[in-house]
Protein backbone atom coordinates (compact mmCIF):
# COMPACT_ATOMS: atom_id res chain seq x y z
CA UNK A 1 0.00 0.00 0.00
CA UNK A 2 2.81 2.37 0.85
CA UNK A 3 4.26 2.01 -2.63
CA UNK A 4 0.94 2.90 -4.23
CA UNK A 5 0.59 5.80 -1.82
CA UNK A 6 4.06 6.95 -2.81
CA UNK A 7 3.31 6.86 -6.52
CA UNK A 8 -0.13 8.47 -6.20
CA UNK A 9 1.26 11.18 -4.01
CA UNK A 10 4.21 11.76 -6.32
CA UNK A 11 1.88 11.85 -9.30
CA UNK A 12 -0.36 14.43 -7.61
CA UNK A 13 2.53 16.54 -6.43
CA UNK A 14 3.55 16.91 -10.05
CA UNK A 15 0.10 17.80 -11.23
CA UNK A 16 -0.90 21.39 -11.69
CA UNK A 17 -3.97 21.10 -9.50
CA UNK A 18 -2.15 20.64 -6.21
CA UNK A 19 -0.32 23.88 -6.86
CA UNK A 20 -3.47 25.73 -7.88
CA UNK A 21 -5.12 24.57 -4.68
CA UNK A 22 -2.08 25.49 -2.60
CA UNK A 23 -1.80 28.91 -4.25
CA UNK A 24 -5.48 29.54 -3.70
CA UNK A 25 -5.22 28.96 0.04
CA UNK A 26 -2.03 30.95 0.25
CA UNK A 27 -3.75 33.87 -1.43
CA UNK A 28 -6.86 33.46 0.70
CA UNK A 29 -4.80 33.49 3.89
CA UNK A 30 -2.87 36.58 2.86
CA UNK A 31 -5.93 38.51 1.70
CA UNK A 32 -7.92 37.69 4.83
CA UNK A 33 -5.11 38.74 7.11
CA UNK A 34 -4.58 41.90 5.13
CA UNK A 35 -8.27 42.85 5.13
CA UNK A 36 -9.09 41.89 8.71
CA UNK A 37 -5.84 43.03 10.14
CA UNK A 38 -6.58 40.80 13.09
CA UNK A 39 -5.80 37.15 13.56
CA UNK A 40 -8.89 35.95 15.39
CA UNK A 41 -11.26 37.76 13.04
CA UNK A 42 -9.46 36.24 10.07
CA UNK A 43 -9.94 32.83 11.63
CA UNK A 44 -13.72 33.34 11.73
CA UNK A 45 -13.92 34.43 8.12
CA UNK A 46 -11.69 31.56 7.18
CA UNK A 47 -13.98 29.12 8.91
CA UNK A 48 -16.90 30.09 6.71
CA UNK A 49 -14.80 29.59 3.63
CA UNK A 50 -13.28 26.30 4.75
CA UNK A 51 -16.56 24.73 5.82
CA UNK A 52 -18.01 25.11 2.35
CA UNK A 53 -14.99 24.98 0.09
CA UNK A 54 -12.94 22.13 1.52
CA UNK A 55 -15.74 19.59 1.05
CA UNK A 56 -16.36 20.84 -2.48
CA UNK A 57 -12.72 20.57 -3.48
CA UNK A 58 -12.33 17.18 -1.78
CA UNK A 59 -15.35 15.81 -3.62
CA UNK A 60 -14.48 17.15 -7.05
CA UNK A 61 -10.82 16.26 -6.77
CA UNK A 62 -11.56 12.76 -5.48
CA UNK A 63 -13.95 11.97 -8.31
CA UNK A 64 -11.64 13.53 -10.88
CA UNK A 65 -8.60 11.62 -9.64
CA UNK A 66 -10.42 8.31 -9.64
CA UNK A 67 -11.64 8.66 -13.20
CA UNK A 68 -8.36 10.04 -14.47
CA UNK A 69 -6.27 7.30 -12.94
CA UNK A 70 -8.40 4.48 -14.30
CA UNK A 71 -5.63 3.31 -16.59
CA UNK A 72 -3.12 3.37 -13.77
CA UNK A 73 -5.54 1.35 -11.62
CA UNK A 74 -6.01 -1.25 -14.34
CA UNK A 75 -2.29 -1.55 -14.74
CA UNK A 76 -1.92 -2.09 -11.01
CA UNK A 77 -4.73 -4.64 -10.82
CA UNK A 78 -2.79 -7.06 -13.02
CA UNK A 79 0.19 -6.82 -10.69
CA UNK A 80 0.59 -8.92 -7.57
CA UNK A 81 -1.04 -6.33 -5.32
CA UNK A 82 -4.06 -6.50 -3.09
CA UNK A 83 -7.09 -4.59 -4.28
CA UNK A 84 -7.61 -2.96 -0.93
CA UNK A 85 -4.04 -1.65 -0.91
CA UNK A 86 -4.41 -0.23 -4.43
CA UNK A 87 -7.51 1.78 -3.55
CA UNK A 88 -6.46 2.73 -0.05
CA UNK A 89 -3.11 3.87 -1.39
CA UNK A 90 -4.74 6.04 -4.03
CA UNK A 91 -7.26 7.42 -1.56
CA UNK A 92 -4.60 8.32 0.97
CA UNK A 93 -2.47 9.84 -1.79
CA UNK A 94 -5.29 12.22 -2.75
CA UNK A 95 -6.42 12.99 0.79
CA UNK A 96 -2.92 13.62 2.12
CA UNK A 97 -1.86 15.83 -0.76
CA UNK A 98 -5.06 17.90 -0.49
CA UNK A 99 -4.63 18.24 3.26
CA UNK A 100 -1.04 19.28 2.78
CA UNK A 101 -2.04 22.00 0.34
CA UNK A 102 -4.60 23.21 2.86
CA UNK A 103 -2.31 23.16 5.88
CA UNK A 104 0.68 24.68 4.12
CA UNK A 105 -1.34 27.16 2.08
CA UNK A 106 -3.11 28.57 5.12
CA UNK A 107 -0.39 27.90 7.63
CA UNK A 108 2.41 29.83 5.95
CA UNK A 109 0.73 33.28 5.87
CA UNK A 110 -0.60 32.87 9.40
CA UNK A 111 2.76 31.80 10.76
CA UNK A 112 4.41 34.81 9.18
CA UNK A 113 1.73 37.03 10.64
CA UNK A 114 2.72 35.92 14.09
CA UNK A 115 0.45 33.02 14.83
CA UNK A 116 2.73 31.48 17.42
CA UNK A 117 2.63 34.59 19.57
CA UNK A 118 -1.11 34.90 19.26
CA UNK A 119 -3.89 33.42 21.38
CA UNK A 120 -5.69 32.34 18.24
CA UNK A 121 -3.31 29.45 17.71
CA UNK A 122 -5.70 26.84 19.18
CA UNK A 123 -8.64 28.14 17.21
CA UNK A 124 -6.51 28.07 14.12
CA UNK A 125 -5.28 24.54 14.81
CA UNK A 126 -8.84 23.36 15.32
CA UNK A 127 -9.71 24.96 12.02
CA UNK A 128 -6.94 23.07 10.24
CA UNK A 129 -7.82 19.80 11.99
CA UNK A 130 -11.47 19.99 10.98
CA UNK A 131 -10.37 21.05 7.48
CA UNK A 132 -8.22 17.93 7.27
CA UNK A 133 -11.06 15.78 8.55
CA UNK A 134 -13.41 17.25 5.97
CA UNK A 135 -10.85 16.54 3.23
CA UNK A 136 -10.54 12.90 4.29
CA UNK A 137 -14.30 12.51 4.63
CA UNK A 138 -15.25 14.02 1.32
CA UNK A 139 -12.46 12.37 -0.65
CA UNK A 140 -13.66 9.03 0.72
CA UNK A 141 -17.25 9.83 -0.22
CA UNK A 142 -16.09 10.86 -3.69
CA UNK A 143 -14.17 7.61 -4.17
CA UNK A 144 -17.31 5.72 -3.16
CA UNK A 145 -19.39 7.54 -5.72
CA UNK A 146 -16.80 7.05 -8.45
CA UNK A 147 -16.43 3.33 -7.67
CA UNK A 148 -20.17 2.83 -7.95
CA UNK A 149 -20.59 4.78 -11.18
CA UNK A 150 -18.88 3.68 -14.35
CA UNK A 151 -20.21 6.76 -16.17
CA UNK A 152 -18.13 9.81 -15.29
CA UNK A 153 -20.84 12.36 -15.99
CA UNK A 154 -23.15 10.57 -13.58
CA UNK A 155 -20.35 10.26 -11.06
CA UNK A 156 -19.61 13.98 -11.19
CA UNK A 157 -23.33 14.76 -10.96
CA UNK A 158 -23.84 12.65 -7.86
CA UNK A 159 -20.71 14.09 -6.26
CA UNK A 160 -21.90 17.66 -6.76
CA UNK A 161 -25.37 16.74 -5.50
CA UNK A 162 -23.88 15.17 -2.39
CA UNK A 163 -21.91 18.30 -1.65
CA UNK A 164 -24.91 20.52 -2.33
CA UNK A 165 -27.05 18.40 -0.05
CA UNK A 166 -24.65 18.32 2.88
CA UNK A 167 -23.44 21.90 2.56
CA UNK A 168 -26.70 23.68 1.84
CA UNK A 169 -29.91 21.65 1.55
CA UNK A 170 -29.37 19.74 4.79
CA UNK A 171 -29.31 22.97 6.77
CA UNK A 172 -32.55 24.09 5.19
CA UNK A 173 -34.30 20.81 5.98
CA UNK A 174 -32.87 20.86 9.48
CA UNK A 175 -34.14 24.36 10.11
CA UNK A 176 -37.57 23.50 8.74
CA UNK A 177 -37.83 20.50 11.05
CA UNK A 178 -36.94 22.71 13.97
CA UNK A 179 -39.61 25.23 13.01
CA UNK A 180 -42.33 22.65 12.38
CA UNK A 181 -41.70 20.85 15.64
CA UNK A 182 -40.91 23.91 17.71
CA UNK A 183 -43.51 22.97 20.32
CA UNK A 184 -41.52 19.89 21.24
CA UNK A 185 -38.20 19.65 23.06
CA UNK A 186 -35.67 19.60 20.28
CA UNK A 187 -32.26 19.61 21.92
CA UNK A 188 -31.64 15.90 21.36
CA UNK A 189 -32.91 16.03 17.79
CA UNK A 190 -30.73 18.96 16.92
CA UNK A 191 -27.69 17.36 18.50
CA UNK A 192 -28.17 14.17 16.53
CA UNK A 193 -28.97 16.14 13.39
CA UNK A 194 -25.69 17.98 13.74
CA UNK A 195 -23.74 14.77 14.24
CA UNK A 196 -25.18 13.28 11.07
CA UNK A 197 -23.68 15.93 8.83
CA UNK A 198 -19.89 16.34 8.94
CA UNK A 199 -20.11 19.92 7.68
CA UNK A 200 -22.55 20.96 10.40
CA UNK A 201 -20.54 19.13 12.97
CA UNK A 202 -17.34 20.93 11.99
CA UNK A 203 -19.07 24.27 11.93
CA UNK A 204 -20.57 23.78 15.38
CA UNK A 205 -17.25 22.63 16.78
CA UNK A 206 -15.42 25.68 15.51
CA UNK A 207 -18.13 28.15 16.50
CA UNK A 208 -18.17 26.81 20.03
CA UNK A 209 -14.42 26.91 20.25
CA UNK A 210 -14.45 30.50 19.05
CA UNK A 211 -16.90 31.23 21.84
CA UNK A 212 -19.49 32.90 19.69
CA UNK A 213 -22.17 30.36 20.44
CA UNK A 214 -24.44 33.23 21.37
CA UNK A 215 -24.95 33.44 17.63
CA UNK A 216 -26.64 30.08 17.79
CA UNK A 217 -29.41 31.27 20.10
CA UNK A 218 -31.31 28.79 22.25
CA UNK A 219 -29.87 25.65 20.70
CA UNK A 220 -26.48 27.26 21.12
CA UNK A 221 -26.90 26.99 24.85
CA UNK A 222 -27.76 23.31 24.55
CA UNK A 223 -24.82 22.77 22.25
CA UNK A 224 -22.47 24.59 24.50
CA UNK A 225 -23.56 22.41 27.35
CA UNK A 226 -22.87 19.34 25.27
CA UNK A 227 -19.91 20.17 23.04
CA UNK A 228 -18.27 22.47 25.55
CA UNK A 229 -17.49 19.58 27.85
CA UNK A 230 -14.72 17.12 27.22
CA UNK A 231 -17.33 14.46 26.67
CA UNK A 232 -19.01 16.46 23.93
CA UNK A 233 -15.70 17.13 22.24
CA UNK A 234 -14.81 13.45 22.36
CA UNK A 235 -18.17 12.43 20.93
CA UNK A 236 -17.84 14.87 18.06
CA UNK A 237 -14.33 13.68 17.22
CA UNK A 238 -15.54 10.11 17.31
CA UNK A 239 -18.33 11.14 14.94
CA UNK A 240 -15.79 12.73 12.58
CA UNK A 241 -13.58 9.63 12.71
CA UNK A 242 -16.62 7.47 11.95
CA UNK A 243 -17.36 9.69 9.00
CA UNK A 244 -13.92 8.78 7.66
CA UNK A 245 -13.92 5.10 8.62
CA UNK A 246 -17.36 4.17 7.30
CA UNK A 247 -16.90 5.45 3.72
CA UNK A 248 -13.37 4.05 3.60
CA UNK A 249 -14.55 0.60 4.64
CA UNK A 250 -17.36 0.69 2.11
CA UNK A 251 -14.77 1.70 -0.48
CA UNK A 252 -12.52 -1.31 0.24
CA UNK A 253 -15.55 -3.60 0.38
CA UNK A 254 -16.93 -2.32 -2.90
CA UNK A 255 -13.57 -2.45 -4.65
CA UNK A 256 -13.20 -6.15 -3.82
CA UNK A 257 -16.39 -6.98 -5.71
CA UNK A 258 -15.94 -4.78 -8.73
CA UNK A 259 -15.08 -5.96 -12.24
CA UNK A 260 -12.48 -4.07 -14.21
Amino acid sequence: MLKILKYSFYDLMRSRWSYVYFAFYLLLGIVLLFLNNDLSKAVITLMNVIIVLVPLIGTIFGVMYYYNSKEFTELLLAQPLKRSSIFLGQYLGVAISLSMSLILGLGIPFVFYGLFKSTAIWDFSLLLITGTFLTFIFTALAFNIALSNENRIKGFGYAILLWLFLAIIYDGLFLMTLIIFEDYPLDKVSLVGTMLNPIDLSRTLILLKLDISALLGYTGAVFKQFFGTNFGLMVSFVALVLWVVLPVSRMTFKSKKKDF
Binding site: K3, Y7, D11, S69, E71, Q79, P80, K82, K256, F260
Partner: protein, 236 residues
Protein backbone atom coordinates in the same frame (compact mmCIF):
# COMPACT_ATOMS: atom_id res chain seq x y z
CA UNK B 1 -0.60 -24.84 -14.93
CA UNK B 2 -4.09 -23.37 -15.14
CA UNK B 3 -7.28 -25.14 -14.26
CA UNK B 4 -10.73 -23.61 -14.68
CA UNK B 5 -13.89 -25.31 -13.51
CA UNK B 6 -17.46 -24.40 -14.34
CA UNK B 7 -16.80 -20.70 -14.73
CA UNK B 8 -19.82 -18.41 -15.03
CA UNK B 9 -19.85 -14.67 -15.48
CA UNK B 10 -22.72 -12.31 -16.16
CA UNK B 11 -22.54 -8.59 -16.79
CA UNK B 12 -26.03 -7.45 -15.94
CA UNK B 13 -28.27 -9.68 -18.06
CA UNK B 14 -25.55 -10.44 -20.54
CA UNK B 15 -24.15 -13.88 -19.84
CA UNK B 16 -20.58 -13.82 -21.11
CA UNK B 17 -19.20 -17.06 -19.74
CA UNK B 18 -21.56 -19.94 -19.10
CA UNK B 19 -19.73 -22.91 -17.69
CA UNK B 20 -16.19 -22.87 -18.99
CA UNK B 21 -14.02 -25.87 -18.11
CA UNK B 22 -10.43 -25.65 -19.18
CA UNK B 23 -7.19 -27.36 -18.28
CA UNK B 24 -3.96 -25.89 -19.55
CA UNK B 25 -0.86 -27.99 -19.09
CA UNK B 26 2.67 -26.87 -18.52
CA UNK B 27 4.67 -25.51 -21.42
CA UNK B 28 3.52 -24.58 -24.90
CA UNK B 29 1.57 -21.86 -26.63
CA UNK B 30 -2.19 -21.85 -26.34
CA UNK B 31 -4.35 -19.58 -28.45
CA UNK B 32 -7.77 -18.56 -27.19
CA UNK B 33 -9.97 -17.79 -30.16
CA UNK B 34 -13.57 -16.81 -30.70
CA UNK B 35 -15.78 -14.22 -32.36
CA UNK B 36 -16.12 -10.73 -30.93
CA UNK B 37 -17.85 -10.78 -27.59
CA UNK B 38 -17.31 -14.49 -27.02
CA UNK B 39 -15.69 -13.85 -23.66
CA UNK B 40 -11.98 -14.15 -24.45
CA UNK B 41 -10.94 -11.06 -22.56
CA UNK B 42 -13.38 -11.79 -19.74
CA UNK B 43 -11.87 -15.26 -19.37
CA UNK B 44 -8.39 -13.80 -19.18
CA UNK B 45 -9.45 -11.10 -16.74
CA UNK B 46 -11.06 -13.74 -14.53
CA UNK B 47 -7.75 -15.55 -14.55
CA UNK B 48 -6.02 -12.37 -13.43
CA UNK B 49 -8.60 -11.61 -10.77
CA UNK B 50 -9.67 -8.37 -12.44
CA UNK B 51 -13.17 -9.72 -13.09
CA UNK B 52 -14.83 -11.59 -10.24
CA UNK B 53 -16.68 -14.67 -11.55
CA UNK B 54 -20.23 -15.40 -10.42
CA UNK B 55 -19.49 -19.09 -10.08
CA UNK B 56 -16.66 -21.52 -10.59
CA UNK B 57 -13.10 -21.99 -9.47
CA UNK B 58 -9.83 -21.04 -11.06
CA UNK B 59 -6.46 -22.26 -9.92
CA UNK B 60 -3.08 -21.21 -11.18
CA UNK B 61 -0.15 -23.47 -10.38
CA UNK B 62 -2.34 -25.48 -8.06
CA UNK B 63 -3.45 -22.49 -5.99
CA UNK B 64 -6.99 -21.19 -5.94
CA UNK B 65 -6.80 -17.57 -7.03
CA UNK B 66 -9.34 -16.49 -4.44
CA UNK B 67 -6.68 -16.84 -1.79
CA UNK B 68 -4.64 -13.69 -2.11
CA UNK B 69 -2.89 -11.88 -4.91
CA UNK B 70 0.55 -13.44 -4.71
CA UNK B 71 -0.15 -15.92 -7.49
CA UNK B 72 0.12 -12.97 -9.87
CA UNK B 73 3.88 -13.03 -9.32
CA UNK B 74 3.74 -16.09 -11.60
CA UNK B 75 1.91 -14.26 -14.39
CA UNK B 76 3.05 -11.74 -16.96
CA UNK B 77 0.08 -10.02 -18.55
CA UNK B 78 -0.14 -7.94 -21.67
CA UNK B 79 -3.40 -5.97 -21.66
CA UNK B 80 -5.39 -5.56 -24.84
CA UNK B 81 -5.43 -1.80 -24.98
CA UNK B 82 -2.24 -0.19 -23.80
CA UNK B 83 -3.70 2.45 -21.51
CA UNK B 84 -1.00 4.00 -19.42
CA UNK B 85 -1.03 7.02 -17.14
CA UNK B 86 -0.31 9.69 -19.70
CA UNK B 87 1.79 12.03 -17.55
CA UNK B 88 4.44 9.42 -16.78
CA UNK B 89 7.61 8.99 -18.78
CA UNK B 90 8.41 5.60 -20.31
CA UNK B 91 11.44 5.23 -18.09
CA UNK B 92 9.47 6.11 -14.97
CA UNK B 93 6.75 3.62 -15.80
CA UNK B 94 9.29 0.82 -16.24
CA UNK B 95 11.02 1.68 -12.96
CA UNK B 96 7.68 1.89 -11.20
CA UNK B 97 6.47 -1.52 -12.34
CA UNK B 98 9.84 -3.02 -11.44
CA UNK B 99 9.58 -1.44 -8.01
CA UNK B 100 6.02 -2.68 -7.50
CA UNK B 101 6.96 -6.24 -8.40
CA UNK B 102 10.07 -6.27 -6.31
CA UNK B 103 12.77 -5.27 -8.80
CA UNK B 104 14.31 -8.56 -9.76
CA UNK B 105 14.74 -8.21 -13.48
CA UNK B 106 17.68 -7.44 -15.67
CA UNK B 107 16.28 -8.08 -19.10
CA UNK B 108 14.44 -4.77 -19.42
CA UNK B 109 17.40 -3.11 -21.13
CA UNK B 110 17.73 -5.92 -23.65
CA UNK B 111 14.02 -5.63 -24.42
CA UNK B 112 14.24 -1.88 -24.78
CA UNK B 113 17.00 -2.21 -27.32
CA UNK B 114 15.23 -5.10 -29.03
CA UNK B 115 12.20 -2.93 -29.71
CA UNK B 116 14.37 0.16 -30.35
CA UNK B 117 12.72 2.15 -27.61
CA UNK B 118 15.76 4.13 -26.45
CA UNK B 119 14.71 7.41 -28.12
CA UNK B 120 11.34 7.27 -26.34
CA UNK B 121 12.54 6.64 -22.79
CA UNK B 122 12.25 10.27 -21.77
CA UNK B 123 8.98 10.92 -23.56
CA UNK B 124 5.65 10.97 -21.82
CA UNK B 125 3.38 8.02 -22.49
CA UNK B 126 0.56 10.29 -23.58
CA UNK B 127 2.64 11.51 -26.50
CA UNK B 128 3.49 8.08 -27.93
CA UNK B 129 1.88 6.50 -30.97
CA UNK B 130 -0.27 3.39 -30.57
CA UNK B 131 2.42 1.07 -31.89
CA UNK B 132 5.11 2.52 -29.62
CA UNK B 133 2.80 2.18 -26.64
CA UNK B 134 2.29 -1.45 -27.55
CA UNK B 135 6.07 -1.93 -27.61
CA UNK B 136 6.33 -0.42 -24.12
CA UNK B 137 3.53 -2.75 -23.14
CA UNK B 138 5.54 -5.70 -24.47
CA UNK B 139 8.65 -4.64 -22.57
CA UNK B 140 6.63 -4.42 -19.35
CA UNK B 141 5.21 -7.88 -19.95
CA UNK B 142 8.34 -9.74 -20.92
CA UNK B 143 10.74 -8.20 -18.45
CA UNK B 144 9.74 -10.56 -15.65
CA UNK B 145 10.63 -14.20 -15.79
CA UNK B 146 7.26 -15.70 -14.88
CA UNK B 147 6.17 -19.22 -15.84
CA UNK B 148 2.81 -18.08 -17.26
CA UNK B 149 2.52 -15.38 -19.90
CA UNK B 150 -0.85 -14.02 -21.01
CA UNK B 151 -0.97 -11.94 -24.17
CA UNK B 152 -4.23 -10.23 -25.12
CA UNK B 153 -4.02 -9.16 -28.78
CA UNK B 154 -0.23 -8.79 -28.76
CA UNK B 155 0.02 -7.85 -32.43
CA UNK B 156 -2.18 -4.77 -32.42
CA UNK B 157 -0.48 -1.75 -33.87
CA UNK B 158 2.89 -3.39 -34.44
CA UNK B 159 4.90 -2.85 -37.62
CA UNK B 160 6.13 -5.94 -39.55
CA UNK B 161 9.63 -5.89 -38.10
CA UNK B 162 8.39 -5.64 -34.52
CA UNK B 163 5.98 -8.44 -35.27
CA UNK B 164 8.88 -10.67 -36.30
CA UNK B 165 10.73 -9.72 -33.13
CA UNK B 166 7.66 -10.51 -31.08
CA UNK B 167 7.34 -13.94 -32.69
CA UNK B 168 10.99 -14.68 -31.94
CA UNK B 169 10.49 -13.53 -28.38
CA UNK B 170 7.46 -15.77 -27.93
CA UNK B 171 9.37 -18.77 -29.34
CA UNK B 172 12.32 -18.06 -27.06
CA UNK B 173 10.03 -17.97 -24.03
CA UNK B 174 8.38 -21.19 -25.10
CA UNK B 175 11.76 -22.89 -25.33
CA UNK B 176 12.36 -21.95 -21.70
CA UNK B 177 9.39 -24.19 -20.92
CA UNK B 178 6.88 -21.44 -20.22
CA UNK B 179 3.16 -21.55 -20.79
CA UNK B 180 1.89 -18.81 -23.06
CA UNK B 181 -1.75 -17.90 -23.52
CA UNK B 182 -2.56 -15.73 -26.53
CA UNK B 183 -5.73 -14.19 -27.90
CA UNK B 184 -5.67 -12.79 -31.39
CA UNK B 185 -7.86 -12.13 -34.37
CA UNK B 186 -5.00 -12.52 -36.81
CA UNK B 187 -5.37 -16.10 -37.93
CA UNK B 188 -2.04 -16.33 -39.72
CA UNK B 189 -0.27 -15.24 -36.53
CA UNK B 190 -2.17 -17.80 -34.45
CA UNK B 191 -1.48 -20.55 -36.98
CA UNK B 192 2.21 -19.73 -36.97
CA UNK B 193 2.87 -19.55 -33.26
CA UNK B 194 0.34 -21.67 -31.41
CA UNK B 195 0.60 -25.34 -30.47
CA UNK B 196 -2.98 -25.72 -29.41
CA UNK B 197 -6.12 -23.68 -29.77
CA UNK B 198 -9.11 -23.16 -27.51
CA UNK B 199 -12.20 -21.96 -29.30
CA UNK B 200 -14.77 -20.04 -27.27
CA UNK B 201 -18.30 -19.72 -28.56
CA UNK B 202 -21.26 -18.24 -26.71
CA UNK B 203 -19.55 -18.48 -23.37
CA UNK B 204 -18.52 -22.11 -23.68
CA UNK B 205 -15.51 -23.96 -24.98
CA UNK B 206 -16.47 -25.22 -28.41
CA UNK B 207 -13.21 -26.85 -29.32
CA UNK B 208 -9.85 -27.56 -27.76
CA UNK B 209 -7.03 -29.23 -29.62
CA UNK B 210 -4.39 -28.77 -32.27
CA UNK B 211 -4.94 -26.93 -35.52
CA UNK B 212 -4.82 -30.19 -37.49
CA UNK B 213 -7.54 -31.67 -35.36
CA UNK B 214 -9.67 -28.63 -36.04
CA UNK B 215 -9.13 -28.98 -39.77
CA UNK B 216 -10.21 -32.63 -39.67
CA UNK B 217 -13.18 -31.85 -37.48
CA UNK B 218 -14.50 -29.15 -39.75
CA UNK B 219 -13.35 -30.85 -42.95
CA UNK B 220 -11.68 -27.73 -44.24
CA UNK B 221 -8.29 -27.53 -46.00
CA UNK B 222 -6.90 -24.53 -44.10
CA UNK B 223 -7.11 -22.96 -40.68
CA UNK B 224 -8.82 -19.73 -41.64
CA UNK B 225 -11.65 -21.57 -43.39
CA UNK B 226 -11.96 -24.00 -40.50
CA UNK B 227 -12.59 -21.11 -38.14
CA UNK B 228 -14.96 -19.48 -40.61
CA UNK B 229 -16.93 -22.69 -40.97
CA UNK B 230 -17.44 -22.94 -37.21
CA UNK B 231 -18.73 -19.40 -37.21
CA UNK B 232 -21.13 -19.87 -40.12
CA UNK B 233 -22.44 -23.15 -38.78
CA UNK B 234 -23.25 -21.52 -35.50
CA UNK B 235 -24.55 -18.29 -37.02
CA UNK B 236 -22.24 -16.27 -34.86
Amino acid sequence: MVSIQDLHKKFGKNEVLSGVNLEIGEGGIFAVLGPNGSGKTTLIKCLLGMVIPNKGTISVLGKNIKHGSNYRYQIDYLPQIANFPSNLKVKELITMIKDLRGNKTTVDEQLISLFKLEPFLDKKLGNLSGGTKQKVNLVLTFMFDSPLIILDEPTSGLDPISLIRLKNLIQAEKEKGKTILITSHIMSFVEEVSDEIVFLLEGKIYFKGSINELKTKTDQPDFEHAIASILTENHA
